[in-house]
Symmetry: none
């Protein structure tokens, strides 16, 4: 389900967060369904449960999960995180785009890439 890349420079918990974010965003995990316990997922990924706990905490903070004491963590409804995520992504995208412009990339080049990226998914 999740594959870790140990050669990645980022901490493990961040990779777990990223993968789970994608799964939730992509609709692969149903709203209000129960997430595996930190211990179970820790076993599964051959990783310390603390690391999973940390990932869950961050996901909860970002609105992807909600926790019921003593019951576990559950997938939050899209409304909880959709807008926040969009805002964050847009801010990051603007930053990177500005740096791209400073590096000498033209508007035309980026516009071309943009079309390409959105067409790829259209075909799929």
């Amino acid at each position: 389900m999740i594959l870790l890349d140990y050669r990645d420079k980022r901490p493990i918990y961040e990779q777990v967060v990223e993968k789970l974010e994608k799964l939730i965003m992509g609709g692969a995990l149903e709203t209000d369904s129960r997430m595996p316990s930190v211990r179970a997922m820790g076993m599964d990924l051959a990783v310390n449960p603390n690391t999973i706990q940390r990932a869950y905490n961050q996901l909860e903070q970002e609105g992807y999960l909600y926790t019921v004491s003593g019951r576990g963590s559950f997938v939050a409804p899209e409304s909880e995180w959709r807008e926040g995520k969009k805002k964050k992504m847009l801010a990051e995208w603007r930053l990177v785009t500005e740096r791209a412009r400073e590096a000498g990339l033209t508007r035309e080049q980026l516009a071309g890439q943009l079309n390409q990226i959105y067409e790829e998914v259209q075909q799929a």
Copy 2:
């Protein structure tokens, strides 16, 4: 000239690298002009000279500076780094744009932002 943000989680030397990259890319530093000595800039930023040296080393590796031992570090001509930088930026920009698409941002939204970012600079 350079302001450090000690609350930033990135290492100091990386912040220095980033700021100097921008200055050089923006043409603020003339080709072949001498950079401040590692000691001088260390004093200036209230930072250990070794930290500055690390930044200078990275900048040299990326082609922004060239160093003459015992004489100082100098700004490299644009031809040394321009193409490499463009390639790296384009790759990064594609990654972020793909993630933006996955987060639900539409092509129209991004295209609008793109125009806005490039118009800003046109006015300046």
Copy 3:
């Protein structure tokens, strides 16, 4: 395993890099096997851990190692460095050969040496 030559004018970290390059190139270190920690190898060679870290960093940059913060450094698969190394070596070899020609060495002399060098290893 590694012997340092303190009379050598090259920096220690470079000597370490060179020796480890040879070990990895020669296949003496298995892919994905863990390198000694910087502290351990520092103790071993009676050298500051920072010096070893510098060597590891350079090896990582050249593609011989990959590092997982908090876990250790590991031997990268051959595919990571083989081609780059070949190119660099060929360039260096051409330079030295041209200088040998200028010094008056004949093509026949060098060709003879060449055969000798490659036969040595054939016997082994």
Copy 4:
């Protein structure tokens, strides 16, 4: 006559040595002709006379020059340095060739390059 590359990592005096070696080896400087004084050549290259002195010293040690106290430095006859130079070059060439072999370059590749390098000069 001599062009210094300030971006070269090697010390200046070494560059001067190298260039003068080539000139003498190539026969551009007549045997027993007088070299410019260290002061004159220092002026010429916009370099400290000490640096030139150091280069002359090394050239003398390698047999390319001989010094007559109070008269100056003179170009030594070829017999003085030819054999020593060949030996040194051959040793260096063997080292680099062995490293090339270790890096995975084949005998055929190097033999091909060898022919190419010697043919270039034949045409000239």
